[in-house]
Symmetry: C2
Subunit: 193 residues, 2 copies
Amino acid sequence: MTHVDQPNQPRMRADARRNRERIISAARDVFEAAGNDAQMDDVAAAAGVGVGTVYRHFPNKDALIGELVRQKFEHISRFLAEAKAEGGDPGEALLRSLTRSAEQMELDMATQHVMSQPSPAVWAVCAGCVQEVQDRSGELIAGGIASGTLRPDMQVSDIRLIMGGIASTMADPSLRPSWRRHLELALDSLRAR
Amino acid sequence: MTHVDQPNQPRMRADARRNRERIISAARDVFEAAGNDAQMDDVAAAAGVGVGTVYRHFPNKDALIGELVRQKFEHISRFLAEAKAEGGDPGEALLRSLTRSAEQMELDMATQHVMSQPSPAVWAVCAGCVQEVQDRSGELIAGGIASGTLRPDMQVSDIRLIMGGIASTMADPSLRPSWRRHLELALDSLRAR
DNA sequence: TGACAAACGGAACTCTACCTCCATATCGTG
DNA sequence: CACGATATGGAGGTAGAGTTCCGTTTGTCA
């Protein structure tokens, strides 16, 4: 019943694949502008397809939102991997990747809006990616504590608190311009004293 | 047209005043349980009144939410005043009042849910209280910087960032138990190094 | 190119939640 | 106590948003 283009699964028709991408891209635009209560009809219109087509690719609104969130976690996971590959102190690498994740958030506000009130159905779509992010950051944290860059009591779960906070700042139009300041404060709180 | 019990305004009937309090109290319960999409009918039921009565006291949903938010800012403002009155270092007083505000948030999660997606109409109800909070905290910040307790570049606007972050942690059921940890991190980021 | 399956479009259905309306009940005062 | 003003209750109007359905179009493969 899933419409995702998986290996060892009948390949989607060319137009279907094209439309799927258009819908995801349109969803980003529309959710960015209207937040969580953007409408499926608007997504369809922005993608230049009918509503029926949107529902052919995503069984319901949560599934569409879930796909956006999933791609976001893929990004974060990649930033962690890149920062680590660049070498240097693991703690600094972690803080660098958090900065990049925040910069990515700014470009993809759609997902932030959507994540500020996530439904269980949304999380279900991307449990795997979340786990990967946690594993990768755990490794960097351990290294950063050992080298004295990060506060000795730092935990993996701190990241979610911090980044959730940044997200909430970005989600509020009046606070959004201050997000770098918020990040500065947050990163300072993770550094060893 | 307002139904608030103001001085120099015809006094509300006794039953009306009683119901108004019941409605506000019920709204807190219902919004706490169901978040932003709690329904007016549920509020009415919880208050033991008809929907019509709710609408007699608050012209629409935003007005009801606005009243909750307004009362929340009154609390915060009082915490600031109390912390200051207790004396000691102004910076410590500020951090103490932030802790109390967070503790108050936990008791009144309704407002947090509601503030995570505030509509302009809601903010309009309580512009005055916000200003008062800003003035009072500005004073404590200046003192705390002077005494070397707070980071030298701290600004009034930092508080909104920090507390918004804590609120977003509390609003997410899976993160909520960690709110004290988040507060600890946040307060550390405000202290001078 | 012809035929079949896959994909599409969008009108219409349905469900939900805010809000209105007005007949009835209650309060407060002379 | 009686009477006018105020307040109440809750059924139903209304509007908006998610989803379905099916006749039509388009891609793919032999």
